[in-house]
Symmetry: C3
Amino acid sequence: MKDVHTPPATKTNPGFFFEDYRVGQVIRHAVPRTVGSGERALYHALYPARHALYSSDAFAQSCGLAASPLDDLAAFHVVFGKTVPDVSLNARANLGYAEGRWLKPVWPGDTLRAESEVIGLKQNSNGKTGVVWVRSRGLNQRGEVVMDYVRWVMVKKRDPQAEAPETVVPTLKSALRPEDLVIPEGLHFSAYDDVLAGEPHRWGDYEVGEQIDHVDGVTIEEAEHMMATRLWQNTSKTHFDGTMREDGTRLIYGGHVMSMARTLSFNGLANAQMIAGLNGGAHANPCFAGDTVRAWSEVLDKAETPAPGVGAIRLRLVATKGGAPFTLKGEDGKYLPHVLLDLDYWALMPL
Amino acid sequence: MKDVHTPPATKTNPGFFFEDYRVGQVIRHAVPRTVGSGERALYHALYPARHALYSSDAFAQSCGLAASPLDDLAAFHVVFGKTVPDVSLNARANLGYAEGRWLKPVWPGDTLRAESEVIGLKQNSNGKTGVVWVRSRGLNQRGEVVMDYVRWVMVKKRDPQAEAPETVVPTLKSALRPEDLVIPEGLHFSAYDDVLAGEPHRWGDYEVGEQIDHVDGVTIEEAEHMMATRLWQNTSKTHFDGTMREDGTRLIYGGHVMSMARTLSFNGLANAQMIAGLNGGAHANPCFAGDTVRAWSEVLDKAETPAPGVGAIRLRLVATKGGAPFTLKGEDGKYLPHVLLDLDYWALMPL
Amino acid sequence: MKDVHTPPATKTNPGFFFEDYRVGQVIRHAVPRTVGSGERALYHALYPARHALYSSDAFAQSCGLAASPLDDLAAFHVVFGKTVPDVSLNARANLGYAEGRWLKPVWPGDTLRAESEVIGLKQNSNGKTGVVWVRSRGLNQRGEVVMDYVRWVMVKKRDPQAEAPETVVPTLKSALRPEDLVIPEGLHFSAYDDVLAGEPHRWGDYEVGEQIDHVDGVTIEEAEHMMATRLWQNTSKTHFDGTMREDGTRLIYGGHVMSMARTLSFNGLANAQMIAGLNGGAHANPCFAGDTVRAWSEVLDKAETPAPGVGAIRLRLVATKGGAPFTLKGEDGKYLPHVLLDLDYWALMPL
C-alpha cells in the first residue's frame, strides 16, 4: 500500500496527499500502544472524570465487568491518534464523524493498533483539495476490533494537476439505531448503586428534548492539552508548535474538548456510564489555551437494550467557551462563535 | 439520607446546605476510585516526593511492608476529594481538621470510597451560615477503614429563615496522643538504611523545639495544581474555572499546598517516612499560580511506639510564599500574609 | 564515606563540595525508585514518544523481549536524578558525558538505585572550583547494573584555601566501539514490522554523513518540564524555583531537552529503536519555557552486531531552539546560540 506514495525526498513522513488514496485501500497505522493504569491516572488528572465505572474496579465488577476498562473516549483518542500521520497530516479540515461504535472494552495491559479503510473520495471543485472518507478501526493484541468509526477530512493534493479520482460518497447513517449498539459482554445494571455513582437520575428520569446545563467550567492550559494530545500519540504539529501562530498559542486537539465536555457532563449525567455509539460530531470553532470550557446536553432519543437493567440514551453534547447555555446556531444556521463542539452519541444508563 | 434534600430543580448536584445536615447523619460519598502505579507516578511528577518508603517497593519491603503503599497524603486527598460534593460545595470556609489517623496502608489496586458522619452543627449568629463538623472515613474494597479525620466547614443556608438546629459542638482532641496512632501492620525500622533514605538524622537526633528550614522552593503553575486536584476528583469549581476571579487565576486546593510542603520537608526530614496522625491544620492564606512555595518545620513532641525501631515525632509544618523562615503570626495573633499552611501531624521515624 | 563531610550546621543536605571527593570513593545515592506503567504513561504524555518498542508490549515481544521496557532515556533520567544531591548540588556546570551504556532493560516493577565512583579530580587554576569525574551506575533490585556512564562537572570548593588534591584525569573513550555495546538478551529484529514501527528506512538505508531534519517542533511549558524533572526526582532547585532568575523562568533540566530531541527524531529515525550507548553530550545553551525545540540528526557511524537482524548506528542528535537545520558551531568553534544539545549515541536498528 505504501508503494502508491511518491518515494520521499527525505526520510521524514510527508503524509498522504489526496491523490495517494484509493477507495478500498487499507492503511495499517503505526505505533501500537499498550495502555494501563498510567493512562487511567492521567485521564483523571487531565479531565474531571468521575463516571464510576471508569474510576473504580469494584464498581465495574458490580456491573458485571472484569475490571474498570480504559475510558471510552481515551480508547477513541488512542485509535484516532494512530490515524493522524496517515489521514490528517495534510488535512485542511476535519469534516465529520459517523457510525462510531465501541465493540469491546479495552482492559489495562491491552495493546491497541489501528487501521483505516478508504471508503469514499471526492475531489473539490477547486482542484486543490478533496474529501477522503475512512472507516478506522482499533484492534487489540488478539486482533479483535475494539472500536470503529467513520471520519472524513479535506486533504490537500500534492499536485493540483493530478487527475481527479472517480467520486465515491459513502452512504452513512445519520445516527446509529439502538440495535446497532454493542453492549459489553456481561454488562448489567441490575445491582447498580446510585449513591456510589453520584446521582439518582436514571434512564426513566430523562425525557427526550430535556436539556441539562452542566454548570461547571474548566479554564484550559497549554501544558494540559499538549500532555493529553501527546499521550494519544497524536502528532499533528499545530497542537505543539507555538511558532505556527502569531500569538504563540497552539490549536487544541478537538478530542481534548470532547473529553473535557464529556467529563463535565457528569454533573447531571453521572449515570450515562458508558459511551456505546458516536452518531456524529462537529468541531464548530477552534479552542485555545485560556478558554473556559463549559458544556450542556440535550436528550435526543431513548431506547431499551437486551442487557439487564441497561437502557440507551442518545445525547447531544455541546461544549462552549462562553455564551448562554442551550444556544447553538444563529439564524443563518451556522454555529455561534462560542460553540466549540456539537457531539451526538449513545450512552448506556441504568433503567 | 438523600431524601432530606429538597428535590432539585435540575439534575445537577446542588450540594448540601446547612439545613440539610443532621447530627448522626451518615453520608455515603460518590465515585469510588481504584488507585495504582499511575497515581504513584503522578504524585511524583506533581510534587518533589522523595520519601523512600513511598518511592521504592524494595525499600518498603525492607521495612516490613508488602510493597510501597500510596503516599499518605495522596490517600488523604482521594478521601477528601470524595467528600467535596456533599460537604464543601456550598462551603464558605474550611475551618479546621482534627483527629486524622491513617489506619491501613492503601495498596496499588485498592479501591477507595468515603463516607462522612455529621458530628456537630452550630448556626452562626448571622443566621445565614453555620458550622458543620464531619468525621470522614476512607474505606477500601474490603470495607476496612484506611483513614479517618474530622473536618469542619462553614456552610451557607439555603433559606436564611430556616430554623436553627440544636447546637452540638463535638469535643475534639487538640492533638492525638501517641497511643492513638496506628502503626501499619508489620512495619519496623530495625534494618533501616539511612543512606538509601537520604539523611542520617534519626528520631534521637531531633529535639523538641528544633526548627528546620527546608530551603527549597517550588513556583506553582496552573496546569500542575489543576491536574493534582482533578486526580483526587475534587470538583470544587474555584480550582478550575478562571472566570471566577478577575485576574483569571484559580484558587489552589489547600491540599496541594499540604503535599508540596510535606514533600519539600524531605530536605531535613527525610526520615519522617510515614504520616500517622493529623492533629490539626489551618489554610492561613490562599495560594495562587506564580507563588513560590517554601516550607519550614518545628518539632512539637516525640514519643516511642511499640513497633521495632519506630519512633513517633510530632511536627508543625508551615508552608509559605515568601517571608523569613520561622515567622508565623503577627503581634495580633493572626497568621502573617505570607503563611499558606500551618499543619500539625505525627510521623513515624527510625529510632 | 559520608564521614568525609564536615558535620552539617543544619539538617538539610549541603551537598558535596570539591574537597569532599576522593578518587576511588563510592557514593551510594539515596531514594530508590520503583518504576511502572505510570512512568511509561507519563513519559508518553511529556514527550512525543513513538518508538514502537517502548510503546507496545506486543511489539517488544515480537522483538524477543518479555515486555516493553522503560524508555532508555527515562532509565537514564532516573539514575541521573539520584546522583544530583551528591554530585551536582554545588556544581557550576555539567561538562560532559562519556562511555554511557545500557546494560539491562528496566522492566515495569523494577526498583532502581544508583551509585557513583569518583574516577578523576582536577582543581581549577582559580583555586575556587574543580572538576570531578564520576562513573555512575544504576542498579535494579537484584543488584544488576542496568546502566552506567561517566559524567564530569565543575564543583565549587567550600574553602578556597583547601589544599588541591592530586590531579587525576581519567582516560575516556571518545566513542564506544561497537563491541562495547550490550544488546539486550533475546533481542532480535528478524520479524520486524516496518509498518507498525512507522517507517520503512532500515539500517541499510542510512549512510554515514547523512543528515536528517526531524521537522517537528514543540514549544515548552514550565509545568511540563517541572513535572518531568520531578518524576526523575531531580532536586536541582534551579529547575523549580522561579525566584532564582529575574524573569521568573526556570532553567530547564538538560535531560528534558535530550528526551524531547530523541522523541522528535522519531520522524526520520523511527527504526532507531533502542539507545545502547552514549558517547558524549554537551548542553550547548540553556533552554527556557517558551522555547520551541526542534531536532536534526547526522549519521556518524554504522556497525553490525551479533544479534539477529540488529544493526548499530551512531548518531549525532542536535536540539535547537530556532536557526537553520544542520548548523551547529560558528567559525570560532563555539556552539551557535540556538543550539541546545549536541548528543552522540549508538542506537539499535533493524538490518
